[in-house]
Amino acid sequence: MNTTERSKWKKQIGYFRRYWMLYAMLIPGIVYITVFKYVPMYGVSIAFKDYNGFGKIAEAEWVGLKNFRRLFETNAFRRAFYNNIIISLAKLVFGFPAPIILALMIDGIRTKWAKRIVQTSVILPDFVSWVVIYGLMYAIFSPNTGVIRQVASVIGYNGKLPNLLADKETFRAVIVGSHVWKGMGIGTVTYLAAITGIDQQLYDAATIDGAGRWQKTWHITLTGIRGVIITLLIIRIGHIMNAGFSQIFAISNSAVVSVADIIDTYVYRIGLTQGRFSLATAAGLFKSVIGLVLVLFTNWISKKVDPDSGIM
């Protein structure tokens, strides 16, 4: 060993002495990620196999793309894919602008306590689970005992009321509406934080120049948070394959399955209740891969628009 090598070696030992504890700290996290995140990624191999849930995955027979072909021949899957896209797009169209508009409205409130009350109350729905929200919707929309019934009686209508929660015509609106209701308030937080970052002098200067409230909102506030809006929109589009598993699982029922079944609920049903593991995994993998491609693609676009943006 010559001297340079020896000093290099010494350096290595010194480095390890200094940092070994940090590596030790990382062990639980890395083990966790490996076991619970990467092992299931290996598990997707059953999408290309014939696996019935018994025995070892490694020993199951390879069948190539057979599961995927079968999947696309299945009407229920095509329907779930379609619903997935429709529901997700509707959530994007209605759910994305809502917090921006609400944030602008909240920003316009001059009285401090009123602002606090509004902010506190609009965030509340984010704290409860979808099961609870279903309970709340039931309390409001139940055609026999809900609030709509009572309002109807007050105005003197005692006829039949539609059951919005079990009607194919209205159920997608219920999904999108409850999504907006739950997420609108919490969505304002990021925008309000961004609005706080806008230079106040811009507003003062605009006022002196005779700009009205709308002009200021349009030219200063919205322009000021444009970057945040674009970034969040891109992230949102990247996640368009997630149509809301825990929501739809909690609020849908057999009467509306044809309009509310999304890929995730489809995977759950054929996989865990019918035991068709390979087919279900193929459906899940199909969704994950599209999701991954979308995230990478939108991130790439976002970098083109603004090199500092994006998630990677």
């Binding site: 480095y15 996290g29 619970f36 990624m41 409230r213 699982f249």
Partner: protein, 296 residues
């Protein structure tokens, strides 16, 4: 908003009025469902059925609560949910801090590699079925561990905490190193005390999602003794089984109580702990979201 005063035009006054009315409506729509459920649960069943229940209870009574208290399953479910929330949040905080701290040290070799390794799991996942099969292979189905371990570390929260740690000046840590402190000492006695705000928000994020998230209870647990409150509630609302909880109660009382009242009461007791926690911590929650929205 602005220090410069200006006279509002009549048009602006009108639009301001409209916006204020809209805001009042929005606040009402956000709050009222909770209030209604609470009032319903506090009302006499028949009086509630006969209508006119909007803002205050009709014929105030606690009978549904008394009946629920007498049922065993609600205690089991409540206990499981509390235990899950407390323990899972505790474990999550430990592993999140242990992972985030080393990754906040600039000089650590291999740091980028580990980060990419963790980050990729935010982009791609094996999905429901492979995860289920893994948990089955680990013999965690129908055990309490399934509530604690599979969701222990959130990559997203880990990166938020790492950002927070990175903002702590290195000089503090370096001087502690010179005094002979180990990295564990630094984490415990310097970094953690300086990150109280970050921990408050992390505790809330994990705590709220542990309380609300019930898919683990649906996917991996069949045993009634391990049932979560949310799952119990879901079962009650769906299956018209609310009155089955009355089986232990006396018949005279159960005749006076409807399915509806029982459902509303279970919704109310599922929501109440969250609302209580919320009213104390919502300020931190908002701050936490703002921290999270800042890019790495």
């Amino acid at each position: 908003m602005s220090k410069v005063k200006y006279k509002k035009s009549p048009g602006e006054r009108v639009s301001e009025l409209i916006i204020n009315i809209l805001l009042v409506i929005i606040v009402f729509v956000m709050i009222y469902p909770f209030w209604h459920v609470l009032m319903y649960s506090l009302s006499d069943s028949r009086a509630a059925m006969s209508g006119g229940l909007f803002f205050y209870p009709r014929k105030f009574t606690l009978i549904t609560y008394r009946m629920l208290i007498r049922t065993k399953q609600i205690f089991i479910a409540f206990k499981n949910s509390v235990l899950k929330t407390v323990l899972a949040t505790f474990f999550s905080l430990i592993i999140t801090a242990l992972t985030a701290y080393p990754l906040s040290i600039p000089g650590l070799k291999g740091r980028r590699l580990v980060q990419v390794y963790i980050f990729f799991t935010m982009l791609f996942s094996g999905g429901i079925i492979p995860t289920y099969l893994l948990i089955k292979d680990l013999h965690m189905l129908d055990t309490f561990w399934v509530y604690l371990i599979p969701g222990m570390l959130s990559a997203h929260h880990m990166f938020i905490l790492r950002n927070f740690f990175q903002a702590i000046p290195d000089s503090l840590e370096e001087s502690a190193m010179l005094d002979g402190a180990s990295h564990m000492d630094i984490l415990l006695w310097i970094v953690l005390p300086l990150s109280k705000a970050a921990f408050a928000t992390q505790t809330m994020f994990y705590g709220v999602s542990n309380w609300n998230e019930y898919m683990d209870g649906v996917l991996y647990v069949n045993d009634q003794r391990l049932q979560l409150l949310q799952v119990y509630l879901r079962q009650l609302i769906y299956t018209d089984g609310s009155k089955s909880v009355l089986s232990g109660a006396d018949l005279a009382a159960s005749a006076a109580v409807t399915e509806e009242s029982m459902k509303m009461t279970v919704v109310a007791i599922t929501v109440l702990p969250v609302i209580i926690v919320y009213s104390f911590l919502q300020k931190y929650y908002m701050k936490g979201i703002m921290i999270g929205s800042v890019k790495e």
